[in-house]
Structure formats: structure tokens, C-alpha cells
């Protein structure tokens, strides 16, 4: 499960964009929840709330495309950091 603060960022983004959160394996971009600019904020929220630093090589949109990918990324990063 994603931390509540990360999920609430996504829920607010979905509400602001008049859409709803997709299922955990569907694209947050295609659902209209995230765009290029809100992704910048989303990564900041993940870093601040989860206490991780997304490395330059991992800072790619595809790592944050679905809720499951974000969850996997956070778990993997927590182990390595």
C-alpha cells in the first residue's frame, strides 16, 4: 500500500482534474490524474513522505506511471537506501 499522504496527493489530483483514480495497474497519465508538471510535484511528495531520494537514473516517468509501479519503486528504494 502507498502511504496515505501519497494516495491523498493522487486523490486530490484526480479530483482537480475531474477524473477518478484508475486501478493499480492502469496509467495515471492516461487516466488524466497526472501530467508532466504535476509529476514533478508527485515525485517531491514521494521523496518527502517516504524519506527516499529518487536517483537521476530512476527519475523517469515510466517508474511513476501506475500505483503498483510507484509502490514497487518505493519498496525497492527503501531497501537500497
Amino acid at each position: 500500500m502507498l502511504p496515505e499522504s501519497v494516495m491523498s496527493f493522487l486523490s486530490k489530483a484526480a479530483k482537480d482534474n475531474r477524473t477518478s483514480l484508475p486501478d493499480a495497474n492502469s496509467s495515471l497519465f492516461l487516466a488524466g490524474v497526472l501530467d508532466s508538471f504535476s509529476l514533478v510535484d508527485f515525485v517531491s511528495v514521494i521523496e518527502n513522505e517516504c524519506g527516499i531520494k529518487v536517483s537521476d537514473s530512476d527519475l523517469r516517468p515510466e517508474n511513476f506511471d501506475t500505483i503498483n509501479k510507484v509502490e514497487t519503486y518505493i519498496q525497492r528504494s527503501a531497501v537500497h537506501q
Binding site: F29, S36, F37, L39, V40, D41, V43, S44, D56, S57, L59, R60, P61
Partner: protein, 339 residues
Amino acid sequence: MSCYITSVGAALPERIVTNAEIARILEVTPGWIEANSGIKERRWVSPDQAASNLAVKAMQDSLSSAGLSSDQIDYLIGCTLSPDYQMPGVAPIVQHKLAGCRSIPAVDIRSGCVGILYSFQLARSLVESGAAKLVGCFGTEAQSKGLNLSHNSAELSMLFGDGAGAMLVTNDIELSRKSGCCLRVDDILIGTDGSFAEDLAIKSPGTANGANWLDTEAIAAGKHFGSMNGRNVILQAVRKMSEAAIEIAERNNVALERIDLVIPHQANANLLKALCKKLSLPEDRVVINLDLFGNTSSAAAFLALWQAVRDERLKSGMTVMILAFGSGFTWGAALCKCI
């Protein structure tokens, strides 16, 4: 020894291309363009104008502002991604067209939107080493001639405009004081991560394209047009520019809140807003003219500097930061003091 930017100049094509005009071509709406970029209009060259024509005018403007003549320039540095020819570079052509310019070194820098920082760094080394007293630097683009104007490329092609900016760099503070624009360049920081090279590129003509650097297959695939992974560019641009700003401020013992004016590459207004948010920087401290000129790539930061001078936003004692990010990826910052 210190190095100073002693004057700036600009040249812009007469033709104004509004969002309404380009929106019809790209099959989008003017409102969509403005909402996604902050751009309202841009300038495009006429068919008979090349990047060198704009550069010569910008150089002449900078010389005129300083009361100097072209024969006083010791070194010419040109930045462009839309040169007159594949070979030679644009700088030798500008050296030839700039009446009175001596047979000085003339070199191209192909670092796109970060060209201004690379030219700063080279110019600074030249004047500080004594190899040159006055260096002419310019950024110029006639990139409208290479835009893909199909709907599928709207996100990229809506951004770009043509124009040129120039500056004169010297170690002579007296010369700088007379010119009305005097920025001392205190530090420059530049970084590169070539693993992102393909995220923002024009791949053809190029020798990585098989047997020929340009053939019908490459043209059919649109490799001669620009391509961009927009999400990745924005993610990396905000991170790299903010990190560069923090690092250069820290190593010069300047608190970020003491930066009086930021002169950034003019990529996209939304990107600049994200950068301000990341750095907790008030937006009124950032020079923005992309609403009128679009993203002019190599020329953009030069034109933003020119805008700051033109609008009399540079005041004695101010600390000024120049920030840029571009294809490569390459990025950086320069810290300057207004004398």
C-alpha cells in the same frame, strides 16, 4: 582577474506568428497552446533569413549599445541548433558578415539552450587568461524552418520561435561601466548526463543513421524533425536547474533568497513555475519573455538577459542568477553581480 558582460543585443524577425495562426496549422486551439506553455506568440524568419542574419544584427546591436566597433572583438563564440549549413559553423559566417570584424577565431557551440553558459565559461577563460580582451558571444535560431507542423508534433512545434541575442564579454571594468550594462560573472556551473541524449534530439542528418547521414528512409521516419520525451525533459529540467541553483549559491555563500533576479532559459512557463515552486522563489524575480518570443533554444537565455537590461531590471548591487537546461541533457547556472 574578473570578467564582465558589458553589453547585450537582440534581433527578432518581423513576422509574428500568433497562437491563433499556428493553432490552425497544428489542429489545436490557441487556448491549449497558452495553457500548456504560456506562449502567446513567437517570431518566425522569412524564407530568405538564416540564423547568421539574425546573429549579425544582434552582434551589431550589442556593439552599438557599448559604443564599440566590430574590429575590437578578439574572439567570436556562436551558439545555435539551426545553423546556416551543416558545415561550416555559423560563427565563421557571422565573422564574415559582421562588417569590420578582423580574422579572429570564430567557434560554434552546439549545446542548445545551455549555450549561453558554455559561451560564458569559454569567454571568461579567454579574457581571464589574457588570450582575448573582448569576446563576442551570440545565440541564434531560425528553427521554424525545421518544425514538424503536423498535429502529432503539436506539443513540440507550438513552442519554438526564432531570434538572436548577443553579449560582449571583457575584463575591462571601465569599458563595462560606460556601457550601462555591467554584470560581473562570479561563478559558472555546468553539468551533463548524456544517458538522456535521445530524449530531446534531431537525429538526422547524423552518422548514427546507418550508411547515410540523411536518406529518404530517415526523412520518411521524420528523423530530421525534433523529437522530445516531454515528461522526462520536464522532470529532469526542474531537478537539474534547481540543484544547480542550490549548489552554485551554496559554494558562493549566497542564500537563495538573496538572489535578486533569475534569468532562465525560456522553455515553458509551466516549467518555470515548477522551478520557482521547487526553489521557493517568488515568480516576480524571474525574467520571462517567452510569452512574446516562444522558446528560442540557443537564443532564449540571451534574449532574456537582453529583456532584463531593456526593462531596466538590473540595478547596481543586485545578485543575478542565469539558469539553463537543454538537450544532452546538459544544464547549469551562472552567478553574477550587477556592478
